[in-house]
Assembly symmetry: C2
């Protein structure tokens, strides 16, 4: 359904595309669409919960050194996204052109940040450190992602994460690729 | 008007408070309120443009070393906000309890981030560095701000910025207070 929504929003405009049209394009009934999504906007954010789980699972999957854990979590998402660049470029273009979608996107990422921060405080990390580290991690991710979906960009998202980290003077390890899956 | 809106939203609830009630409380006509604000929500974001100007002016006020410039910009806002902690605590509590306001707040901060990033690229800084640095700067600010408005917090916002920076392993200089105004 996300693919159908993206195609219609891009072709006909966000405002002009109805939930009914998305359902028809995805070959499901409108009733089915509304069983999964509150409104047409949410169809575009379908993948959000899966990515949040991926992020939180990776965060807790190994070392509990904050920078290492955050680095691991963000790399997991970057590796997951890499094969879908084309779709994500199209989605990013649409989102940045519709304020209603852009607000929702920023808010969703804010939610991930808070979830990660809660995970860190549950490990005994103090609140300011947890909040600052997760906010900074997501900031690096956002900067790298924005670059990754730019016209003509050919670097991998995971490598852009490493470059963003170096650019601000952090050494969290995004650049470490030993043993990482080839993406 | 912001004070009036904040009082009414907090006392009667956001949904139940009308623009007319805010105007009456602030002793202006509804027409005057709507001359300045698109809707009742915007009254709470009245200060946003002034703060954005403060941020951008401070960014460009001295050294063009990225970390120093960002540090200076954020400190200017922190120093400006310090005397208004009580109001800002009340505002933060309201905003976090109303999703519609929380989304708007996150979006506003995203706008500041983009403005700062554009300033840096106009200095010749490459886009990834500009985006990563400003995103990280605002991430630190948000983490420090969230701590600053928490119950029982007595540290200054500018000092919390320094602590947030130290917590993530950056040395951008928020902790430097020589010659800074006493706040």
């Amino acid at each position: 359904m996300q693919q159908a929504a993206l195609e219609l929003f891009t072709r006909d405009g966000y405002a002009a595309t109805t939930a009914a049209a998305i359902a028809a394009r995805a070959d499901v009934t409108e009733r089915t669409l509304f069983r999964y999504f509150a409104d047409k906007r949410e169809v575009l954010f379908d993948d959000g919960q899966r990515l949040e789980h991926l992020l939180l699972d990776a965060l807790s999957a190994g070392s509990r050194v904050v920078a290492e854990a955050l680095s691991r979590a963000l790399r997991a998402v970057a590796v997951d996204m890499q094969p879908r660049r084309e779709l994500l470029v199209q989605r990013a273009a649409l989102i940045s052109s519709v304020p209603e979608l852009a607000e929702r996107e920023v808010w969703k990422i804010h939610g991930w940040t808070r979830s990660m921060s809660r995970t860190l405080t549950s490990w005994g990390i103090d609140e300011l450190t947890a909040a600052a580290s997760t906010e900074v991690a997501m900031a690096l991710f956002r900067a790298a992602f924005t670059r990754w979906v730019a016209d003509g960009e050919s670097r991998k998202l995971v490598d852009l994460l490493g470059e963003a980290e170096t650019a601000v003077g952090l050494g969290w390890g995004f650049a470490v690729v030993d043993g990482s899956p080839e993406v």
